[in-house]
């Protein structure tokens, strides 16, 4: 380890935030760019499964809440791209990587939203899991990222509560609505658990990230936290978690749960989820269709900037 690297690690160990202008190891920079941009891409792609129900929201109030949520997600994308940009990449480069299929986004968004209840399940389970993932990151070593996470988490907790509220209304509703809620839970439960990534045994590169304080808990720890938090909520809703092996262990104080289908996880990761192609194609189309518009803004700015500066 070089002297610079040592000093860098000491700052991190001392809880001092790393800022954009500070020296940092190349690998730290690269890991952060990958992690932050992946998160940003997830916010952007994540607008699509929810956008799918905005036009069909069942009441004007629910439509408002959902629209506001999607707007927040675009906002999160903006903060996060900005945080990534402090590391010396441009948003356009990051988007190009996304559109070329080189950068990833959260696999959960490769599942379709098939009923209104999915808006509830996504808020409750997906945003719920996201928060569990992200809260520790509010204390991560990279300053711009940690500050972005603080803003994101505050809004996400609203989203999770609103999602739960949708589930609550449905599970107190007609038999069809209750069935809708149960069906959504059945479809989103396992993918939500998969959001935390491979089990610790199979997880690579975690040690270095932990040392750098950009990963503060292991995948399995966070996943367990999610299960422990969610099972009683499902019980309160009167819904059944689709896992016959689920049981409370009074000794550990934790819920034990069944084996995750890692084959499915890897299939979706590899591009074989129900919506991988479509999500990416939708984003690429939006970007390509918007090229002339972005070009127009640039052309206008080029034409008028000198004039206005001179005036």
């Amino acid at each position: 380890m070089s002297a610079e690297e040592r000093a860098f690690q000491e700052r991190i160990d001392a809880g001092v935030k790393i800022e954009a202008k500070d020296w940092m190891p190349d690998a730290y920079r690269k890991t952060l760019i990958r992690q932050i941009s992946q998160h940003a891409h997830s916010e952007i792609v994540g607008q699509l499964p929810e956008g799918n129900w905005v036009t069909r929201a069942p009441t004007l109030k629910r439509k408002s809440i959902l629209l506001a949520k999607i707007q927040d997600e675009a906002g999160h994308g903006l903060y996060l791209y900005s945080a990534a940009e402090t590391l010396g990449v441009s948003r356009d480069e990051l988007l190009a990587a996304l559109h070329a299929g080189k950068a990833k986004y959260s696999s959960i968004f490769n599942y379709p939203t098939l009923s209104w209840a999915d808006m509830g399940a996504i808020g409750w389970l997906v945003d719920g899991s996201a928060i569990i993932n992200q809260i520790p990151l509010c204390r991560c070593s990279y300053g711009p990222y940690s500050r972005a996470m603080i803003r994101v988490c505050k809004e996400e907790s609203f989203h999770a509560r609103q999602g739960y509220d949708i589930m609550l209304a449905l599970s107190r509703g007609t038999p069809e609505q209750k069935a809708m809620a149960q069906d959504a839970l059945n479809r989103w439960w396992w993918p939500s658990l998969m959001m935390f990534g491979p089990s610790d045994a199979a997880s690579v590169n975690s040690a270095q990230s932990a040392q750098w304080r950009i990963k503060l808990f292991s995948n399995d720890e966070l996943r367990q936290r999610m299960v422990d938090q969610t099972v009683p909520q499902a019980e309160y809703l009167g819904l059944t978690i689709p896992d016959p092996d689920l049981k409370f262990n009074a000794e550990t104080g934790h819920y034990e749960f069944g084996e995750i289908d890692w084959d499915e996880f890897h299939a979706v990761l590899k591009g074989n989820g129900p919506c991988n192609r479509e999500r990416l194609a939708t984003r690429v189309k939006a970007y390509e269709d918007g090229q002339w518009f972005r070009d127009a803004l640039t052309a206008y700015a080029d034409k008028h900037a000198p004039a206005k500066a001179a005036a």
Partner: protein, 251 residues
């Protein structure tokens, strides 16, 4: 009940709802992230205004119809929005030109409604004025940038203006309902509103280097009386599906 006022409120609410719905179709599909945010924002503002207009309309009617009943349980011929707002999104020049034509009218209308003889209407207008002021600034600005951007953007936004122009006359084409509201001091007269609209559109078009179509061109009409284009039925079928398919459910 004052049937004319009820109808007038429905028109205000339906315009806001249908345009909000159209814009919301673009969620996550805008040409840039900043546009995505702004589109959602405008859609949200209009939806909020819809709810205020509908709530007042429902109370005035006194038949127990709330905002959702009015939004989700009327068929196309019962909708009273202008043809302009139900037109499809098209490309982004079409989307923004539709918005600009609407925003200009909306801004001057809402401004005038803050002085309505109906205090409730004046109050809603007051609440909405900041929003519609922002909408107009944004859409006018984008029309200028597209018009005075590249040859391609200029051509697209000019084509959008030419195609949508025939739907702009209806906003100033007053019928008995509108006139009753003017007579009661509830709503502004058509002529000055149209003059303001034409003046602002002309100014923005000039800055945008666009040719403004003739104010005397043939204009379509019918939306305010419930005779719509073929697009509205599809929009409603999608929007109303859950309420129709699960009658009586609470969401």
């Amino acid at each position: 009940m004052d049937q004319n006022k009820f109808d007038y409120l429905l028109r205000l609410g339906d315009n806001a709802l249908v345009l909000s719905q159209r814009i919301s179709e673009l969620c996550g599909k805008g040409p840039a992230l900043e546009e995505d945010m702004a589109l959602t924002n405008v859609s949200l503002d209009l939806l909020g205004q819809t709810r205020l207009w509908y709530s007042y309309a429902g109370e005035l009617e006194g038949a127990g119809r709330d905002e959702d009943r009015l939004a989700f349980h009327r068929d196309a011929h019962q909708f009273r929005n202008c043809l302009l707002v139900e037109q499809r999104n098209g490309n982004y020049a079409d989307t923004m030109m539709r918005q600009f034509f609407f925003d200009t009218w909306h801004y001057f209308l809402i401004g005038a409604l803050t002085k309505s003889s109906d205090a409730r209407i004046a109050g809603i207008a007051e609440k909405s004025l900041k929003e519609v002021t922002y909408h107009l600034r944004r859409s006018g600005d984008l029309v200028v940038r597209m018009g005075d951007g590249t040859p391609e953007s200029h051509a697209k936004v000019q084509a959008a203006a030419d195609a949508l122009w025939m739907y702009t006359g209806e906003m100033f084409n007053y019928d008995a309902v509108d006139q009753a509201m003017v007579d009661a001091g509830v709503a502004p007269a058509a002529a000055p509103l149209r003059a303001q609209w034409l003046e602002h559109v002309a100014a923005i078009f000039a800055e945008a280097t666009l040719v403004m179509p003739s104010p005397d061109a043939w204009m379509q009409k019918g939306g305010k009386q419930g005779v719509h284009s073929e697009h509205l039925g599809y929009l409603l079928a999608e929007m109303q599906f859950l309420q129709r398919a699960y009658p009586g459910a609470e969401w």
